[in-house]
Symmetry: C2
Subunit: 395 residues, 2 copies
Amino acid sequence: MTAIFSTQAVLNAMKSVLPQGHAFLPLHEPNFSGNEWLYVKECLDTGWVSSVGKFVDRFEDELAQYTKVKRAIAVVNGTAALHVCLLLAGVKADDEVLIPALTFIATANAVSYCGAVPHFLDSEESTLGVDPRKLAGYLEETAEIRPSGCYNRVTGRRIKAMVPMHTFGHAVDLDPLVEVCQRFDITLIEDAAESLGSFYKGRHTGQRGLLSALSFNGNKTITTGGGGAILTNDEELGRQAKHITTTAKVPHRWEFNHDMVGYNYRMPNINAAIGCAQLEQLSGFLAAKRDLAERYRQAFTGIPGIRFFSEPANSRSNYWLNTLLLDEECAGQRDALLEATNDAGIMTRPAWTLMHKLPMFNACPKMDLSVAESLEQRLLNIPSSVMLGAGLDHA
Amino acid sequence: MTAIFSTQAVLNAMKSVLPQGHAFLPLHEPNFSGNEWLYVKECLDTGWVSSVGKFVDRFEDELAQYTKVKRAIAVVNGTAALHVCLLLAGVKADDEVLIPALTFIATANAVSYCGAVPHFLDSEESTLGVDPRKLAGYLEETAEIRPSGCYNRVTGRRIKAMVPMHTFGHAVDLDPLVEVCQRFDITLIEDAAESLGSFYKGRHTGQRGLLSALSFNGNKTITTGGGGAILTNDEELGRQAKHITTTAKVPHRWEFNHDMVGYNYRMPNINAAIGCAQLEQLSGFLAAKRDLAERYRQAFTGIPGIRFFSEPANSRSNYWLNTLLLDEECAGQRDALLEATNDAGIMTRPAWTLMHKLPMFNACPKMDLSVAESLEQRLLNIPSSVMLGAGLDHA
């Protein structure tokens, strides 16, 4: 194999963007330079650290305002948010749920928790997310619309929902996906775990799904330690989401009654306190991340065989995890690049192993996944922390 | 109905124990007078707030040392801990799991998450927990041991596990329960959510189950905001518990592979930091709680028809939630007592509604529940915070 680019050239391009003198630069470090301190201290001083407290309410209100949805419900993590989105969308045991093969494990696991079966979709290279046109063609061949919903002709199972994911913070092409869902009577849920601060045609990701999921894990654009949220524009679903994530307890001065099988998924107040402080800084974080992305883009311009992945046409992206894509003919150079960068203390990572290749999901239904398979071989994430961008301290 | 005791006499007894000048005394407030601050600040300063960090490891090690088990695995809450205990014990869909009717909803919900069916057991008044002798008689009539396990003759379902709960921190009578489990080939899991710091015959609760669950919710003896832990003396189950609660990711320098359907149940480092500080204070908390219990016991001595619930013969209890029991003939006075105390700013609460009375569980199998039914009518929890006991500041 002839190398198209030299590993050293790529390493040099990264180094030209990144600060010097760090022993190791992780993919994404959190940044606590705001009121985190103050708010957490308030929780400890007042004793309000747990499941009730003003920061949970405030965090939910501010998330709803920022993402412009009617209700946001804070939960323990993005996986829990996805699980509840699926439950409230009416996903039942033995239903199928369409999800991208190229996604983090949480999307597929949440489907499993419902007793449902993930059904894997291909991606398009322009967004790294579900390809709406290829999906439409596939469903025309595979799906059948009956009075009780959309069915998979091959497996006989109902296809209840679809959960596209905004990969690394780049918005999937939502308009045609919404159209496909409407045409095939499939409920749309957005996995916006990676896309807080990302917009599709000017609207925040997560607005179009019946319900959507955010994540505030430690590696996300903002973090609450561990955390997530459910977004919805349906007031009644918002009420149900709050109820089912708080053990389905029926309010009473002292009685303990619960009216359904619920979950203990509420976010503790102390984690919401951190979230409130982080949200205050979000616009600065996004500016820094977009600055970093632009400097990466410039640095990789002119290196043959590799390109920095820039936001798709309809997306204003948070650039959560910056991404390099190798040309098809350079895919064989990826592992050497992973070795060299990680050895040099610059963390890089390939895409997640595609879901249909994992042992617990390899018998699940899937469409042709050739683009996802290709992306999996050619993709690298590179350091993306807020502190690497302009406007924030590099120390 | 003739009142046996006067509501005012009970209220006066409470007031004689409790500090004055509080607008409202909740059932259980947390106490953060140790290193909570310092450790949380360290998390924020270093950026280690999330799923990896030294406080998670330290908290797990210290929990295992304190409870004298081989492995403790910190998770997001007690419900998650119970869920994983059941999964790792091999509970499958359509199995039955024996649990007390008198318990918090989490015990029953965790069974549901496995697709299994709760099967409700009666309590004994001496421990407020599962009655081992009554259970043995019931299983002799109802259960049948086959090569593949214990079966319910009536429903035909396998009875895979039993989850006794140490009610309000009083140890259930474990020795005869262990014997029943062995005789009927049923796996024992302890719901020790309420019993950190409680001992049965000198051994910490949670040691006897194949796996056991702790909770660190905001109302517990120690808190992490929200949190729980799995305890086990089986190293291999401990390894599996860590794996399945951390998305079942296979360790690798950069690859993302998962070998089974896992859960995102890990405790964030910032919550574990609070837990480490709380554990340092546990012996003081327990002393204060036992002092408070003793003062309550004395204050209620001599009031006819009502008694303070003292630790059972084989239990050294944490007195997590202090409990009053009304005599059978005074049960009708309970609601007036709830009204008067809560109106006076002293929070009191009846027992949880028994599980078999809730709509989602009312078709589940159950034994005669006459003692639990009686306890449900006669029981009140009263303020039990650490700060109400001697040795800690009442401010």
